[in-house]
């Protein structure tokens, strides 16, 4: 994996938001001195205060928080502090919750089984402004966009450019889902790592900006089952 260091500083400032104290301390010790841990919070309201106080580069955010989920932390912070970036983290969560956090503004999602080295790398990439997609998130996104059919004969009016993934973006997502790193994807598709990153960022943008009603429908269908 590429280690894209945050521009300007080698050690990004990080806040950890998770309701499990054990997990917070585990992450803290795994991160070691590779990042600067500015603080920890266990609930939505304290997390918002802590982020406002410390203004970190990256917030490690649990998808499930007792006070209403990680998405509320993102929603409350993103307009006030646009420089703070969020990396969502969870053990195993329903796709619609993960997508909700991403749509609220988080720039990536990884599972808690991630190794320390990979997490540090992900934090660096988030701090540098890239998007971080774990295989599972790639799967969720493919699923969400796949449920809208390309088979429909007529394209409805709301089906704008934002509501569809390009063939290349799908290809990249599929490779991520298969467990490929960006570097391996670049080699596989004969493109540069930068191009892979820009594809992923573009998918993230579509995910956040799309008003496609399929996306909502997909989420609600998921919730029902």
């Amino acid at each position: 994996m590429t280690t894209a260091a945050a521009p300007g500083s080698g050690r990004p400032r990080v806040v950890i938001v998770d309701d499990h104290g054990l997990f917070r301390s585990g992450v803290r010790s795994e991160l070691g001195d590779q990042v600067d841990v500015a603080g920890e919070a266990g609930d939505v309201a304290p997390a918002i205060d802590l982020i406002a106080q410390t203004v970190p580069d990256v917030v490690l955010l649990d998808v499930h928080l007792p006070g209403g989920g990680g998405q509320r932390v993102v929603a409350a912070t993103r307009d006030v502090l646009p420089g703070v970036r969020f990396l969502a983290l969870s053990a195993s969560d329903a796709p619609e919750d993960v997508i909700a956090v991403i749509r609220a503004g988080a720039r990536g999602y990884v599972t808690k089984t991630i190794s320390g080295a990979e997490l540090i790398d992900a934090i660096h990439r988030i701090a540098a402004g890239d998007a971080v997609f774990s295989p599972r998130l790639a799967g969720f996104v493919l699923d969400a966009f796949a449920s809208m059919p390309g088979t429909e004969e007529s394209k409805p009016a709301f089906d704008s450019e934002l509501d569809q993934l390009t063939a290349r973006e799908r290809e990249v997502l599929r490779l991520i889902a298969r467990g490929y790193t960006y570097k391996e994807i670049a080699r596989e598709l004969f493109i540069s790592v930068k191009t892979v990153e820009s594809h992923v960022s573009s998918v993230l943008r579509k995910l956040q900006l799309s008003t496609r009603h399929q996306l909502t429908r997909w989420a609600s269908e998921r919730r029902l089952t």
């Binding site: 089984t113 790639a138 493919l142 796949a146 799908r170 290809e171 599929r174 467990g179 598709l189």
Partner: protein, 466 residues
């Protein structure tokens, strides 16, 4: 989305499965005929002589599979056309037998016959004799008989070439079909003698009636003659036909049994042999050995007495995604590895998809046991026309070309299992770079639809036949 070749693999590696990529535009009458008489799904692809449903050369069965028309209908049509054209259609049939490769083969009998010098010499001799006989017959004033008999010449030529150059398995069938003819010459049982005498009398009567009838051009006599000739043929060949029908059924059963055996071998490998290998590796941990043996015993009992085959995922999981989750749980419990799963889309399991999951499970077991990787990634994507499953590890890797052919795991449990069901398995690996197994299986429910709808012809959708 369903046609993503594994990156780095040339796209032509992926054989068209059940002709899904085969595009064709049918004349309307044929489409109409198909809708009316179609009895089964079309396989599409190039015309191949069928192995399973053959009566003689398998041409009609192959044509039926190719067009979707009913095989009996085609056979009757062939016989009728042959009678109407006084044998010309029979030539077409035999030539097709000669030049169309059998299913699963790429070379036709004709291509082999081209190098058969003795066969060609024999054919030249036979043809000259037959032609001489025909010339003599017409010189004797029975020109109508010669004109009826001339299609025999090309047919005989082709049949000799087929007889000499057919592949081994077809030779067996040919020999059995010809057995009564060769057996007739031997004589032996009185009943057989009686049959021959009755036949000869009937034939003589019929043919003489026919020839008289020809001269008089009356209607009744020729019909009586034809009936007598047919009766003669039935008396002579009836028992033989019955035996052929019985043999064909037996042969089909034998093939089914062979496939069953292969399936059992794959299952035993997946369960018992894998467990024994693990017991050997864990020999110094008695607790673990006992645990493994217990689990295996339970599984084996369930198979032998309750009929639940080991590794059968269908019982535990009704859909693809649930099956993948089941694999994850099972492998994580049994081996000390993490299995990360990602699934996109979902559908219900049928036999084909269960085979896909069984092969995927086996690939995951291999990765857990041999790769040394701590994490195995499983990605399943259910597309509209096919289901793809990717099993990837970042372990040792191996050189796929260097694996001995007798290693059961990959060859039988993964590749053959997929191919028996019309799917495909690709394995990419290199020393030090991990392994990725790519499995694809066309979706059965969609097969008929996709095949019967000419691609790109949206204006005229075929009536759905689901």
């Amino acid at each position: 989305m369903n046609e993503t070749p594994a990156p780095g693999q040339p796209a032509q590696d992926q054989q068209p499965v059940n002709g899904q990529r085969h595009q064709e535009h049918l004349p309307p009458w044929l489409a109409e005929a198909r809708n009316r008489w179609a009895s089964g799904p079309r396989t599409g692809g190039p015309l191949r002589r069928a192995r399973d449903d053959r009566l003689v050369g398998g041409v009609m069965a192959g044509l039926a599979a190719r067009t979707g028309l009913d095989v009996t209908l085609l056979r009757v049509a062939l016989v009728v056309i042959t009678l109407l054209t006084s044998g010309v259609a029979a030539i077409a049939y035999v030539v097709a037998w000669l030049v169309v490769p059998a299913a699963g083969e790429t070379t036709s009998i004709a291509s082999r016959a081209a190098t058969d010098k003795r066969g060609i010499a024999l054919v030249a001799g036979l043809a000259s004799i037959l032609i001489t006989v025909l010339v003599i017959i017409s010189a004797l004033g029975a020109g109508w008989l010669a004109s009826l008999a001339w299609p025999v010449v090309p047919c005989a030529i082709c049949l000799v070439l087929i007889w000499r150059n057919a592949p081994a398995d077809e030779q067996v069938i040919l020999r059995r079909q010809a057995a009564p003819l060769t057996g007739l010459a031997e004589g032996g049982k009185p009943r057989r003698k009686l049959r021959i005498i009755v036949t000869l009398v009937l034939l003589a009567l019929g043919i003489s009636l026919l020839s008289i009838g020809h001269h008089r051009s009356a209607v009744l006599d020729p019909i009586g003659g034809v009936l007598l000739v047919i009766a003669g043929i039935v008396v002579l060949l009836g028992p033989w036909w019955l035996r052929i029908a019985r043999d064909l059924a037996l042969e089909r059963q034998a093939r089914v049994r062979a496939e069953e055996r292969a399936d059992i071998a794959a299952r035993v490998h997946d369960s018992v042999l894998q467990t024994l290998a693990m017991i050997q590796r864990a020999a110094d941990e008695p607790q673990r050995v006992v645990q493994l043996a217990r689990a295996q015993e339970r599984e084996l009992r369930a198979w032998l007495f309750d009929g639940r085959p080991p590794g059968s995922i269908t019982d535990e999981a009704p859909t693809v995604a649930a099956g993948v989750r089941h694999i994850q749980q099972e492998i994580e419990a049994r081996y000390e590895v993490a299995v990360e799963i990602v699934t996109v889309g979902d559908c219900e399991l049928d036999d084909d998809l269960a085979a896909l999951l069984a092969a995927g499970r086996e690939a995951t077991v291999n990765a857990a046991k041999w790769s040394g990787s701590r994490v195995i990634s499983l990605f399943a994507e259910v597309g509209p026309a096919q289901v793809a499953l990717f099993v990837r590890d970042r372990g040792k890797g191996f050189d796929p070309a260097a694996v001995p052919a007798d290693r059961k795991g990959v060859a039988e449990s993964i590749r053959a299992r997929m191919e028996r069901r019309g799917g495909e398995a690709t394995i990419r690996s290199a020393a030090g770079q991990g392994t990725e197994v790519t499995l694809t299986m066309p979706r059965a429910a969609r097969r008929g639809d996709t095949a019967s709808r000419p691609a790109g012809d949206a204006k005229q959708p075929a009536p759905s036949r689901s």
